[in-house]
């Protein structure tokens, strides 16, 4: 099949090459010299390694600011640098958020060349999260930094709602992986609300969305990071097991609850009193129930999403082309779409395309199973975690939710007195 495709491409190239060179090369007598036009290429390699270097430096600086200096001022400084450099100067691409998709594609398709820089962009913040919590979110990520910089007040959303909304990043992540692995679309890049602001141009819909999110960010802490960011979901997972957690203060917490009020992302858990008494064994039963539900949800999610893999596959360009070709065939009166016209002009073979589409649909089959499973699993895990009672004596930081913005430090009276 591939050979067929390459042969047809060769033939087409020949036909096209045949079409040019209608006029002979002029024979100049006046000593005319061909102008030497040089098209400059920016040193992309240099810049990408430069980005990586700056990212590492800023991550290190953030680690120092979060764990050593405990200074929000430094974190804000880092944020400003990040917004200016990664955001406005480098205009965003490629970022760690987007690199999820490149990595997913590289895993799914061994033929895809993943630049090392992109791989490192993906791995570095995760590695840092494993050792020091979400320092990437603190100020290194320009998206988080921008939201942090505009945030002035925090109006708290009801905690149950935020917890429930917390599954959205996982769903987003699952779809991002599904579409990236099948080479259909990079939806994280496509629906990045802030890239348009950094570039001062682009898709108007996304810019409006970004501006609305920023307006929201003035009163609610980091709405994108909390409720949308797929990379944040991964970072949260890694920082759950991080070796060194972000701490509010030295152990002598006086339970004043100031930090709890200050936290923009509601990551500080108050001391919990086991207020309600339950019959013995009821808690265990509940946990067991949710343990049984977990695989059910996983399998159910996988099967459900898989049942839709045909419709999902329409996001792929090739599949859409075949779809267009077929609708064109059926309703011949419709105006020919430019894609269809181009397909015919290039001497495309419908049979080859059909084979390709069949292959793509197979991929969708596999990856929608996986993505559906991921969604089901993440929801199941969340339910399971919510069914376990925990006791806490002091105010503690939930490492999954904490973005290490450092706001709580200045609120803590114990810190002040130190």
């Amino acid at each position: 099949m591939k050979r067929l495709a390459s042969i047809s491409v060769l033939l087409m190239l020949k036909a096209r090459a045949f079409a040019v060179a209608r006029f002979p090369k002029p024979d100049f007598h006046s000593g005319y010299q061909y102008p030497d036009i040089v098209h400059t290429v920016p040193n992309e390699t240099f810049w990408s390694w430069m980005d990586l270097g700056i990212l590492t430096l800023m991550l290190l600086a953030a680690v120092w600011a979060v764990h050593r200096a405990k200074s929000r001022r430094i974190i804000l400084g880092i944020s400003l640098v990040s917004v200016l450099y990664f955001g406005f100067y480098r205009s965003g691409c490629v970022c760690s958020l987007g690199s999820i998709q490149n990595v997913a594609l590289a895993i799914a398709d061994p033929g895809y060349h993943l630049p090392l820089v992109v791989l490192l962009l993906f791995l570095l913040p995760l590695a840092f999260a494993l050792f020091a919590g979400r320092v990437f979110c603190a100020g290194v990520c320009p998206i988080g930094a921008l939201q942090e910089l505009v945030n002035v007040r925090n109006f708290r959303i009801s905690r149950p709602v935020t917890v429930a909304l917390g599954v959205i990043p996982w769903i987003y992540l699952a779809f991002a992986i599904l579409y990236a692995a099948t080479r259909s679309q990079f939806i994280i890049c496509r629906f990045d609300p802030f890239i348009g602001i950094f570039r001062m141009g682009g898709d108007i819909g996304m810019i409006v969305f970004g501006v609305l999110l920023l307006l929201l960010a003035v009163f609610v802490g980091r709405p994108f990071c909390q409720f949308l960011c797929p990379y944040g979901a991964l970072l949260g997972l890694f920082s759950r097991f991080s070796a060194r957690k972000v701490e509010i203060t030295s152990p002598e917490c006086i339970n004043c609850s100031l930090c709890h009020h200050a936290c923009p992302v509601d990551a500080i858990r108050p001391p919990s009193r086991s207020s309600r008494e339950e019959a013995a064994g009821k808690g265990i039963k509940r946990v067991l129930l949710y343990l049984c539900v977990l695989p059910l949800l996983t399998v159910g999610g996988a099967l459900l999403l898989d049942s839709q893999h045909d419709s999902l596959s329409l996001a792929n360009k090739q599949v859409r082309l075949l779809h267009l070709l077929q609708t064109q065939e059926e309703t011949a009166t419709l105006q020919m779409a430019p894609e269809v016209e181009a397909f015919h002009e290039m001497g495309g073979d419908v049979q080859v395309l059909e084979e390709q589409v069949g292959h793509i649909r197979q991929q969708f089959h596999l990856w929608s199973l996986l993505a559906g499973g991921l969604i089901g699993f993440s929801v199941g895990c969340r339910l399971l975690r919510l069914s376990v009672k925990r006791t806490r004596k002091t105010y503690e930081i939930d490492p999954v939710a904490c973005v290490a913005c450092g706001k709580c430090w200045s609120y803590c009276p114990q810190n002040k007195s130190r």
Binding site: A15, A19, L149, V150, V152, R153, R156, R159, P160, V161, V163, A164, V167, M200, G201, I204, V208, V211, V218, S257, L258, H260, H261, A262, R269, P270, S272, R273, S274, S275, R276, L297, L304, S307, Q308, D310, S311, L314, L322, H323, Q326, E329, A332, T333, L334, Q335, M336, H344, G347, R361, V379, R382, L383, L386, S387, K389, R390, R392, S410, Y411
Partner: protein, 646 residues
């Protein structure tokens, strides 16, 4: 405290300004998206208008002004947008800073004491929300699945199931046609049997080549075939004017009585360039010289009411041409012997017909397509997409609009008929397709989507062995279709540019030639290319072929004879006058008109001698039609018939 107030005021002012600026920018941005000044429709229309009126200075200066304006608008818009966005960003930064400063002091104390909250209660509530969300998601998904399942036109399911029902459909169609045919023939007049679809398909191919001369040009035909056609000739002569409607007027019309000695012509020219557009006629006794001014060898000459570049067709004693202008589109029927306009059928009141005439080139006009007949019905098409079908008496049988063609020169493909199938090559900018309509009621029999671009070529019927093929030349392919169901038999990519000439067929070979492309000879059996040449290529004029030669007339004045065997140019005449009319072979000679109206007559053999040439004095773009010892010629304004005078 004072500082706070300043910051608050500053924040308010910047917020108002930023909001106003953002709205302004948004609006202007949206406007620029909707209609970029560079893609101004007005400017483009003006430029096109200027092309047809290059001398109009006022128009030119208007274009220049508008062009300058639009470019100015484009670039200032871009720069304004850019600076506007920068200002907006600056304002946003100031706003954020002011707000921060304003709220700086309020941070030490929380706005109000938050209830500590019961964590377990929160968790339970969260779980419940999650479960609700899950249930809603599940419900939505199920709804989608259900609606998808209910929808019959699902993309993939349909796609998988497609091939089978298709085959069934064709089988059903076949059965239907077969089943309905006998009943129809029974109910109708017995004379009409001769022209029934499938039988006539079998019988008709022999009709254009019944005479010995035709047998000579296509000697591939087996001997018994010639005998058979010879034998069928008298029969046809009877059947040829069978249609009672045709016999009747000939009795009733008194003018005809003035020519009692002339039998009704047997040879017909049913389509553009003769029957099946072969370019060859079995007519004999055509004069090799005539003079319009002195009426030497000219039977009659009469003016055609409305203009058109289409060619005459002849059936029995009727000559059909069409004409059109802004006001009307008409099909005319002239008497072959007297030149009297027998009737006029107007293509009006057709649903879907455009109110305004489509833009056409002056060199194409609104009536460039030649009409077609099967001795029972006449069909004509115009550049508006209006298709009209009448009986031989001019009574409208049906009419429909095929959709206004998007054609920058004007639709020009001529009609073709095969049995009761009306075949239309409808290659336009918006779509390219081949249609086959039932000539009796205009119903669509089949429709093939073509992968080609716009062309002005006309379909041709090739009788290859015992199977007929519709040959369609387009850009970039010459394609053969089966008349029965429109299935593609073969397709050869060989053309490019604007294809105006039609293909031709002789002796098992399909020929196609077009300027900016090449001349090709294709084995009609399997679509293999026999040879290619690019010495002498036509623009509008269609080539004609015999067993030995392919004759081509170009728009730059060269007229050539290619060898049918290998594509070598056997003979070339440099006549230095453009040819739009197509050569036609009759009586062993090639008849060809130049645009200025000069007639050239060559010998239709490998020597390709110029036998005679003379100026007729009237511009001629149409291709003549031949019938027994007569030739019908359409000039720019009039129609005349050439016949030897005793």
């Amino acid at each position: 405290m004072k500082d706070r107030k300043i910051y608050r005021d500053l924040a308010l002012v910047t917020a108002v300004f930023a909001l106003a600026l953002a709205i302004m920018l948004g609006v202007s941005w949206l406007q620029s998206r909707r209609s970029t000044p560079l893609q101004s429709q007005v400017l483009e229309t003006l430029k096109e208008l200027h092309e047809s009126h290059p001398e109009n200075e006022e128009l030119a200066s208007q274009i220049r002004q508008l062009d300058l304006l639009s470019r100015k608008a484009y670039f200032t818009e871009k720069s304004q947008l850019k600076s506007g966005v920068w200002i907006l960003c600056g304002m946003a930064a100031i706003l954020a800073f002011c707000l921060r400063m304003y709220y700086k002091d309020s941070r030490t104390l929380p706005g109000k004491e938050l209830p500590a909250g019961d964590e377990w209660q929160d968790k339970t509530l969260s779980r419940r929300y999650l479960q609700w969300g899950l249930a809603t998601g599940l419900g939505v998904l199920l709804l989608i699945i259900l609606s998808n399942a209910l929808q019959p036109a699902r993309f993939f399911r349909q796609h998988e199931a497609e091939p089978l029902p298709d085959v069934d459909n064709y089988a059903v169609l076949d059965e239907e046609t077969q089943a309905t045919e006998p009943t129809q023939t029974i109910t109708e007049e017995p004379e009409q049997q001769a022209v029934r679809p499938m039988q006539s398909v079998e019988a008709e191919p022999q009709q254009p080549v019944p005479s010995a001369q035709a047998a000579e040009t296509t000697p591939q035909q087996p001997a018994q075939n010639a005998q058979a056609s010879e034998a069928s000739r008298p029969q046809q002569a009877v059947q040829g004017r069978p249609a009672s409607e045709e016999a009747r007027p000939s009795k009733e019309l008194p003018q005809v009585a003035t020519e009692p000695s002339v039998p009704l012509p047997v040879v017909k020219s049913r389509a553009f360039r003769g029957n099946y557009s072969s370019g060859r006629s079995s007519a004999k006794g055509i004069p090799t010289s005539w003079d319009l001014s002195s009426s030497r060898n000219v039977l009659w000459q009469t003016a055609i009411p409305r203009h058109g570049y289409n060619s005459p067709i002849v059936s029995g004693r009727k000559v059909f041409v069409t004409g059109a202008d802004e006001r009307a589109r008409e099909l005319y029927c002239f008497d072959l012997f007297s030149g009297e306009l027998l009737w006029t059928a107007t293509a009006d009141n057709i649903p879907g017909s455009p109110g305004q005439m489509p833009e056409v080139n002056e060199d194409t006009g609104l009536a460039a397509s030649t009409a077609v007949t099967n001795d029972k019905q006449v069909c004509a098409i115009f550049a508006t997409g209006d298709l009209l079908c009448t009986d031989m008496e001019g009574r409208r049988l049906w009419a429909r609009n095929l959709g206004t063609p998007d054609n920058h020169y004007g639709f020009a493909s001529s009609l073709q008929m095969y049995g009761n199938l009306l075949i239309i090559q409808y290659d336009n900018n918006d779509k390219a397709e081949l249609l086959a309509l039932n000539v009796e009621n205009g119903a669509e029999v089949w429709r093939r989507n073509r992968k080609d671009k716009i062309a002005w070529s006309s379909p041709v019927i090739a009788q290859v062995g015992d199977k007929p093929l519709i040959i369609v030349m387009g850009n970039p392919a010459i394609t053969a279709y089966q008349p029965r169901d429109g299935q593609e038999v073969w397709r050869v990519d060989c053309m490019s540019g604007e294809v105006g000439a039609s293909p031709c067929y002789a002796n098992g070979i399909v020929y196609g030639a077009s300027e900016y492309a090449k001349a090709v000879a294709i084995n009609a059996e399997d679509g293999s290319v026999l040879w290619e040449a690019d010495d002498c290529l036509p623009e509008c004029s269609s080539p004609v072929a015999t067993k030995e030669c392919l004759y081509v007339a170009t728009s730059y004045g060269a007229v050539c004879a290619y060898s049918a065997e290998n594509g070598k140019v056997l003979r070339q005449h440099e006549l230095e006058t453009p040819f739009y009319s197509s050569p036609v072979i009759a009586d062993g000679k090639v008849y060809l008109f130049s645009n200025s109206g000069k007639c050239y007559i060559f010998s239709a053999d490998i020597r390709f001698e110029l036998l005679n040439s003379f100026d007729t004095g009237e511009q001629t773009f149409a291709t003549p039609a031949f019938t027994d010892s007569m030739m019908v010629v359409r000039t720019d304004k009039s129609l005349y018939v050439v016949r030897k005078k005793e």
